[in-house]
């Protein structure tokens, strides 16, 4: 399934990436601080809903998000 | 010893032609391989722009009449950043507008040639010749610690020679080089010779902005937010200025042997003083002429030597007395210094200077 990698220590905690995710809240602000003293964004996708649409990465002013997409396999009808 | 042309392009082969100073300035730059000219109309130097408009276009070289002198100097800065030989010419008020750009080029080690054909000032002043920009030309002019190599010709031929050399000096030191003439030199016509047309060759300039192909990117900037880093850059600049001071002092001397009075004058004032001194000698007065050609670096050492034998110095300028201060610096008041100056674009006549010399020699009526 698709996913994103966030370079946490480069994130400036601006939250813009959290405002565009079509799946709602796959990108959230973390509870902890990063090395720069910001609360970084983190990828939270337990159900694997991320489609790799890259909107969060597009919105990031600091290019800290890298996106990997796996083409969704056709659901095989049991 | 009649004045000799100490600087100059040896080995001219072309014939002499009668040419207006401003046009000779333009042709000299073209012969020196100037690839880009950016100017703005301002009397008394606009003919340089007009001549360049014709010739540079003919030769397929870059020419733009800029929106202002501020635009022009920054176009020069851009072109010079690519390693191209670039030039602008202007006159006093325009030269004032160029100061910021020049300061940037000095700090980012970008070579170019700038000719200031000085006119009456301050303010809008007028269009007659003047030497009122000496401080601005030799003491930096813009913000920060820098001095530009400033060469002051007194004839059209010498202007041609110095402009051709200025391009090589700019490359040699990676600094803007200025030639300071005035409205008289720009407007008079005199016979001149030129070297053959030099195609713009582009010597190796690893620092130039030519596209980061097969190398790391180049950045040309004068911004160094860290003070220690800016100081390091300044030290590099000061080292260049020291080199200029050591290698580029130029002057001409006329009848100094046994001269009790030494007249000191540069550019047009130097030329007029030469006539006056010649007449005074014909009337038996022991007087000589010292004519600085490089006004930065100023010939302090040579002047100090002269002050040891001379009894009196007479500084002649078309200003309120600016080079005068450098003469005082050089001679530390070891010998009395008189000053004769005209301002406002008034060009002194030889007779005026001759009377002053006679007065000093005690034989004045």
């Amino acid at each position: 399934m698709s996913y994103i990698v966030i370079d946490e220590d480069r994130c400036k905690g601006c939250e813009l990436c959290t405002t565009v995710c079509p799946q709602g809240d796959l990108v959230q602000m973390a509870g902890h601080f990063n090395v720069k003293g910001y609360r970084p964004s983190v990828f939270v996708d337990p159900e694997g809903r991320c489609t790799g649409c890259t909107l969060c990465a597009m919105m990031c002013p600091d290019t800290v998000i890298t996106v990997y997409r796996t083409a969704r396999k056709k659901k095989t009808v049991e | 010893m009649v004045g000799t042309r100490l600087s100059g392009w040896k080995g001219y082969r072309t014939m002499k032609i009668l040419m207006k100073g401003n046009e000779a300035i333009a042709e000299a730059a073209i012969r020196a391989g100037c690839e880009a000219y950016f100017g703005y109309p301002i009397t008394p130097q606009t003919e340089v722009l007009e001549y360049m408009a014709r010739r540079m276009t003919e030769l397929g070289r870059a020419f733009v009449q800029a929106e202002s002198e501020v635009g022009a100097i920054n176009m020069v800065y851009g072109a010079a950043c690519t390693g191209a030989r670039a030039m602008t010419t202007t006159s006093s008020p325009g030269y004032s507008l160029m100061q910021e750009g020049i300061s940037y080029m000095a700090m980012s080690f970008v070579p170019c040639v700038i000719v200031n054909i000085m006119r009456g000032g301050p303010g809008l002043g007028n269009i007659q010749p003047s030497q009122g920009d000496y401080f601005q030309m030799t003491k930096g002019g813009g913000h920060g610690d820098y001095h530009l190599l400033s060469l002051a010709p007194s004839t059209v031929q010498e202007t041609v020679d110095l402009i051709i050399e200025a391009f090589d000096l700019a490359d040699k030191y990676r600094q803007p080089v200025t030639v300071i003439a005035d409205g008289l030199i720009g407007q008079i016509m005199e016979p001149v010779e030129f070297p053959d047309l030099k195609e713009p060759q582009r010597p190796e300039r690893p620092w130039a902005l030519t596209g980061a192909k097969g190398r790391k990117k180049n950045v040309i900037t004068s911004l160094f937010l860290d003070a220690h880093e800016l100081e390091r850059e300044n030290l590099k600049l000061q080292a260049i200025i020291a080199q200029i001071k050591a290698n580029e002092v130029r002057y001409a001397e006329y009848w100094l042997d046994g001269a009790e009075i030494v007249v000191i004058a540069y550019g047009t004032a130097g030329r007029i003083a030469q006539t006056a001194v010649k007449r005074a000698r014909e009337q038996g007065i022991a007087v000589g002429l010292f004519r600085p050609i490089s006004v930065f670096p100023f010939p302090y050492d040579r002047l100090r030597e002269i002050a040891e034998t001379a009894q009196q110095l007479l500084v002649v300028e078309m200003s309120a007395g600016q080079m005068l201060e450098d003469v005082r610096l050089a001679t530390c008041n070891r010998v009395p210094i008189s000053f004769y100056g005209r301002m406002g674009g008034v060009v002194p006549l030889p007779e005026e200077i001759l009377d002053k010399i006679k007065g000093l020699a005690g034989t004045g009526s």
Partner: protein, 255 residues
């Protein structure tokens, strides 16, 4: 998580792998990335020269992997002219804020456009002088409070904001003058496309191109980054409508 997925989004090669000095949420970072993406896509990194202004993006030369020069405040278009006229084969772009371009540098901008210089100007309009701490800019909106319009911009005493695209598109030397924004992904896509076209206009020597980006300044607007996006969408774009202001015919036929 195995990294078996296909990499679909990463830092463009033309964007230096460094942390920028820009404030959190500042759109400069987005525009920088888009320019770098376009440079990569067009394959011109090795013949592009950028010119940084004086302002927040004065350090832009740290953030691009192509040759760069630092211009005096407002003079980037003149510098670009000098570079382009001596090296037409180079792709030259200036990157300027509203103080640099619409205040001190207006004369250089207008005449570079009137001359039809084949250069590309990327103009970031965030209605305030950012680097110097939030003063009023020529593009500050009426009523907007800044450190030099503390009672809100009073048009009677401090005049009206300057609409640059509308102004510059009157000049026949211009070939492509558009205004975009980056406050949401759909707009970011349009902005990226506009930047690409602008560079292509230059490469096809069709004349002067300018892309204005209606941008934000969370720090000096006194807002969170998210709030600043709303301000851009609701207040800024109302005064600076997005769209195409001049697109010469030949541009339309560009591939």
């Amino acid at each position: 998580m195995s990294e078996d997925g296909e990499l679909v989004f990463r830092r463009p090669a033309a964007l230096s792998d460094v942390v920028t000095h820009y404030c959190p949420g500042c759109m400069h970072g987005i525009v920088h990335r888009l320019i770098a993406e376009v440079i990569d896509e067009l394959g011109i990194r090795e013949r592009t020269v950028g010119i940084a202004p004086v302002g927040c993006s004065v350090l832009a030369y740290h953030y691009f992997e192509c040759d760069f020069a630092e211009a005096a405040h407002g003079r980037a278009p003149a510098m670009a002219t000098g570079i382009k006229r001596t090296h037409p084969e180079l792709v030259v772009f200036t990157y300027q804020g509203d103080g640099d371009l619409a205040s001190i540098g207006t004369n250089e901008l207008i005449h570079a456009a009137a001359r039809g210089e084949n250069i590309t100007v990327v103009f970031i309009n965030n209605a305030v002088y950012g680097m110097t701490g939030g003063q009023m800019a020529p593009t500050t909106l009426p009523g907007m409070v800044t450190t030099s319009s503390p009672y809100g911009r009073d048009v009677k005493r401090q005049g009206y904001p300057v609409r640059v695209c509308e102004l510059v598109s009157q000049l026949d030397g211009t070939a492509y003058i558009v205004r975009r924004s980056a406050y949401k992904p759909a707009e970011i896509r349009k902005l990226r496309q506009a930047l690409k076209i602008a560079f292509q206009v230059q490469m096809a020597e069709l004349g002067f191109s300018l892309v204005e980006v209606v941008s934000n300044c969370p720090t000096n607007w006194g807002m969170t980054p998210k709030e600043s996006l709303r301000f851009v969408e609701e207040r800024m774009i109302a005064y600076y409508p997005l769209g195409d202001y001049r697109v010469r015919d030949e541009v339309k036929t560009l591939k």
